[in-house]
């Protein structure tokens, strides 16, 4: 890479005038800045989806928890003028609608976006090499590997988590959630036509409520692991993590190959 640049062969740090002038750059820093590079991984729609999705999930978990276990009764005004639980439910439904539209948008982007936009929707289970990488990641998290590997998109373990908790998990929550919402909308509408048969197949819709709630807890668990892993990898891995979901660029901390 360095040879391809005009100043590369003679002086590796030449041309970085701004960095030099600020004064806080050692010679080795400048050499490093010249070589280390980044890959544009997450395009703008993917990042936008990630953060709206995160916000929606946060709202959905908080309001969803309160729908199953409501706040203590409040006496603000007469029932006619008070709509506390109604607003909590409204926030839940509104966030769910945004999440659903976003999820469909994300699926659309898997088709038209770059290669990395597709990674979350499949698992290359037929490839032996992929399983080897999964095993490597398990060893890395089990403190059995000294150095982590470089990944441009998700590491194999992250890909598994994304596939099960987001691709399948969100689908499950959207389907069960809309089946419950269709009950409130009432029989005879489009939602009832789509989701009614599912509810009938399950039987008592109390079961559906409990499944949806169990799904919420699964997403809580995912959230914990996801945030922990992102921060840990940001510190301990050889590439950027958190900022990648902000800028879209994956930057690497060293020039070594695996």
């Amino acid at each position: 890479m360095s040879d391809a640049t005009p100043y590369g062969s003679r002086d590796p740090a030449a041309g970085l005038e701004a960095a030099r002038l600020t004064g806080d750059a050692t010679e080795s820093d400048l050499a490093s800045v010249r070589r280390r590079t980044s890959v544009y991984v997450y395009e703008a729609p993917v990042r936008l989806w990630h953060w709206t999705n995160a916000l929606c999930i946060l709202v959905l978990i908080v309001t969803g928890f309160l729908i199953g276990r409501p706040l203590p009764s409040m006496q603000i005004a007469e029932a006619t003028h008070q709509f506390v639980f109604g607003y909590i439910r409204f926030a839940h439904f509104a966030a769910a609608m945004i999440l659903t539209v976003g999820f469909f948008g994300r699926i659309y982007w898997a088709f038209v976006g770059n290669h990395h936009a597709r990674q979350m929707f499949y698992l290359p289970v037929h490839r032996k090499a992929w399983w080897r990488e999964v095993w490597h990641e398990i060893r890395w998290y089990g403190f059995l590997e000294k150095t982590p590997k470089k990944y441009v998109g998700h590491n194999p373990l992250a890909q598994i988590a994304m596939f099960f908790f987001m691709t399948l998990g969100l689908s499950f929550m959207i389907i069960t959630g809309f089946a419950l919402y269709a009950e409130g909308v009432g029989q005879g509408g489009i939602l009832d036509a789509i989701f009614g048969p599912l509810r009938e197949a399950i039987g008592n819709s109390q079961i559906l409520h409990q499944m949806h709630r169990l799904g919420m807890w699964a997403i809580v668990v995912f959230m914990l692991v996801h945030i922990y892993a992102a921060i840990r990898e940001d510190i301990m891995s050889r590439q950027s993590m958190v900022s990648t979901m902000i800028s879209g660029h994956r930057t690497f901390k060293d020039d070594r190959a695996d």
């Binding site: 199953g68 409501p70 403190f143 009950e183 029989q187 807890w217 668990v221 922990y228 301990m236």
Partner: protein
């Protein structure tokens, strides 16, 4: 069938005036949610159509459906309904008993082949060749099959016939089975509830007699006019639900104020029935009005949904006695604990590595420079 009297003839014979008859027709039309234009049609049908023979059989049940049925106010069950239908066999209500009763049933099947309605209260247990329920010396399932063979249509009364109810609750030792899983070749109308509301029962029968067809059914085969909405959708305490005002404990101040029973495990939001509109005992009250949550008795498997008094109920489907919050809370707690330990080990390992790498660190930087 001309030897059978019409409903009108029977009613007049019992001293009901023409005026009362017309009143009854309009009340029935209103109860069925039909417009005034249907009143003459109901009157005409009752004047001209012969009474429909009904065979009413009882399997594993508690007779609460019959108890409910005979308390119908609109139409009045007592005289009127028992005359509207020609109830030719009902071992609980009929005067005949023993062989005489069984003969009446066979006679009805022979005489009105393909024209009678079979009303089933309760359900057949299928384990041990049906030996858990014997009627007239034979397993009930045989009587059911025999009566169903030539029936025009079948009414499944109550949660037992519709879904299985308490005798089919886990682990269902007698293998009590709802009617539609035993009889699969007849139109079946399901009227669930434990028991169903009296006016719903008589309303369904009146509709079938008046229009000579089944009422509009929903996906589960329930009459849509009575089971089209949830208790919750028409509950008079709904404003308190939306306001977030709930009964917190039994007999607290909120209970006395008539707040929503959601937190006390009311199953109104998951139960399709007409209790909150038609109500019970001539429209006097219904469970929620009496201060007790709905237990969801007209829903499939309502005995197996954990406590009647929990909102987040135990997940009995998975064979565990814990609810989603307990399972999820433990899982999330365990994961959070795991993360804390993992963080600590990660930090220690990193520190350890730094100490080990220190002598070589200078070399590396020299190399890079």
């Amino acid at each position: 069938m001309s030897q059978i009297e019409t409903f009108y003839e029977v009613m007049r014979k019992q001293g009901i005036t023409r005026r009362s008859f017309m009143k009854y027709c309009s009340l029935t039309a209103a109860a069925l949610g039909l417009g005034p234009a249907f009143v003459p049609r109901i009157a005409k049908a009752m004047e001209e159509m012969p009474r429909t023979p009904v065979i009413w059989v009882h399997g594993l049940e508690c007779t609460c459906c019959s108890e409910s049925f005979i308390r119908s106010a609109h139409p009045l069950a007592g005289d009127v309904v028992l005359s509207m239908i020609s109830l030719d066999y009902d071992d609980t209500l009929m005067a005949a008993a023993g062989h005489q009763a069984e003969a009446a049933m066979r006679d009805t099947i022979e005489r009105y082949r393909g024209n009678y309605i079979l009303a089933v209260e309760g359900n057949p247990p299928l384990n041990e060749d049906g030996m858990y329920c014997i009627v007239g010396g034979k397993p009930f399932v045989d009587q059911l099959r025999e009566a169903a063979e030539h029936a025009k249509a079948i009414i499944s009364w109550g949660a037992c016939a519709s879904y299985g109810c308490v005798q089919a609750a886990h682990p269902n030792p007698t293998r009590a089975t709802p009617v539609h899983q035993v009889i699969t070749d007849k139109p079946i109308i399901r009227v669930p509830g434990c028991p169903p509301i009296a006016e719903v029962m008589t309303g369904v029968i009146t509709y079938m007699l008046t229009f000579d067809r089944l009422p509009e059914l929903d996906r589960q085969g329930r009459p849509a006019m009575f089971y089209g909405q949830r208790i919750h959708d028409k509950c008079y305490r709904r404003p308190h639900f939306d306001a977030g005002q709930f009964v917190e404990t039994w007999d607290d101040e909120n209970a006395r104020r008539g707040y929503c029973l959601y937190k006390m495990g009311c199953k109104g939001p998951t139960t399709y029935n007409a209790c909150s509109t038609v109500r019970w005992n001539e429209g006097v009250s219904f469970p929620i009005q009496s201060g007790h949550g709905c237990i969801g008795c007209s829903e499939d498997g309502f005995w197996d949904q954990g406590s009647f008094y929990d909102r987040v109920t135990d997940l009995t489907q998975f064979g565990v006695e814990a609810n989603a919050d307990q399972i999820g809370g433990i899982a999330a707690g365990a994961v959070a604990g795991g993360i804390a330990v993992h963080t600590a080990i990660s930090a220690l390992r990193t520190a350890q590595k730094k100490v080990q790498d220190r002598p070589s660190a200078a070399e590396t930087s020299k190399e890079e420079a």
